[in-house]
Point group: C2
DNA sequence: GTCTATAAGATGATAGAC
DNA sequence: GTCTATCATCTTATAGAC
């Protein structure tokens, strides 16, 4: 990492090497609060407080609350990209797909409390009129594409449908796990899903 | 049905035979608005307007907004009960399970816009602190139980896990259908699910 | 029972000092 | 760049007339 100026997504102040930039602090704070409470129940006052930033100062970094939510979405997209890239180390497509599914099992306890971080966000924003014209901006788009790639490598012609099937199993399991406040539901469904992955030629 | 006084859930004004009671109008209005916008983005002013009732009058029927949301949940529970009972006409367990799955396909277009009426409600309320101590109050509880009953009739020992698997497929398909704004995703996943139902001995 | 008026508080957003 | 003070609006909820 050099000290030279780097291109960053959107307007961003000079990055501090010592600590997270205040902008990033605000995005992180908003991301966790939105996950725990949802977008609309989360106020800018709460976001600012958790980020240790004065309320009015939020508007120096984000023109509106919507802009802050957009920044959270970008942050989630970056995390997804990193995570998927990390699975590349696995040797076989099956191992990579199981690693993906295991990601949710690792956070099963949290999922039982607040739901899937991606699923609940997508569900809430999906009702927003602003979101109505953004079909391929889904947080799941890169994940479905990545699953489809693995399945094609397995020689499956129906890779697209199977990709949706795999993600639907995970998301459905996460939703029911949250609804029943039982992490075991997600764990057991993932076990079933793993057997299903093995059954794919 | 007699004219005698009947026990009803909660305080309820005299039921008018000619038209829906104002209370019911408010519940219906709240239910549709909550489905379209979510609980927290829906204001009492909107609910009152759609129900053609003055804003302040809402508080005659419901002490707080939470009480109105509770009434919506009760209404949903009643709808679920009715719907499941309607499937009883089908001869075989498989036919009954397919009828259940078909229920979502019938509203696939709406699901692509606003998500599953039950799934999105559960997802949003699941983040609510008030809901934290209500594991078996899930809107999905009666549905899972009903599916389990059908599967037991098929002689399946693993009926509980399979019940969650079936509902997870549907809910996952609905969530992805909404996320991608594509009803076809839910339709295709249901097709796969129907074959899966047939494969159950 | 039904409605109007309004209180009380929260929230997104702005102006301007430092 | 950072912070304080504050506005304007929205939203839940109440009081009280009819």
């Amino acid at each position: 990492m050099t000290n030279s100026v780097r291109a960053t997504l959107g307007a961003m102040p000079n990055v501090q090497a010592r600590a997270l930039s205040k902008r990033q602090q605000l995005v992180d704070s908003a991301q966790s609060l939105i996950y725990e409470q949802g977008v609309h129940r989360t106020t800018l006052a709460e976001v600012a407080e958790r980020a240790d930033v004065p309320v009015g100062n939020v508007y120096y970094y984000f023109k509106t609350k919507d802009d802050l939510v957009d920044a959270v979405l970008e942050s989630r997209a970056a995390q997804i990209h990193e995570t998927l890239e990390g699975f590349g180390k696995r040797r076989t497509p099956q191992a990579r797909l199981k690693a993906l599914a295991h990601g949710w099992v690792e956070i099963a306890e949290t999922v039982a409390q607040f739901g899937c971080p991606l699923g609940t966000l997508s569900s809430e924003l999906g009702k927003h009129p602003d979101d109505m014209a953004a079909p391929d901006a889904s947080v799941f788009q890169p994940i479905v594409d990545w699953i489809e790639t693995q399945l094609r490598e397995l020689g499956r012609r129906d890779a697209r449908d199977l990709a949706f099937e795999l993600l639907a199993r995970i998301q459905g399991g996460a939703l029911l796990g949250q609804s029943f406040r039982d992490p075991d539901i997600l764990v057991r469904q993932t076990r079933i899903t793993n057997r299903w992955i093995d059954s794919l030629s």
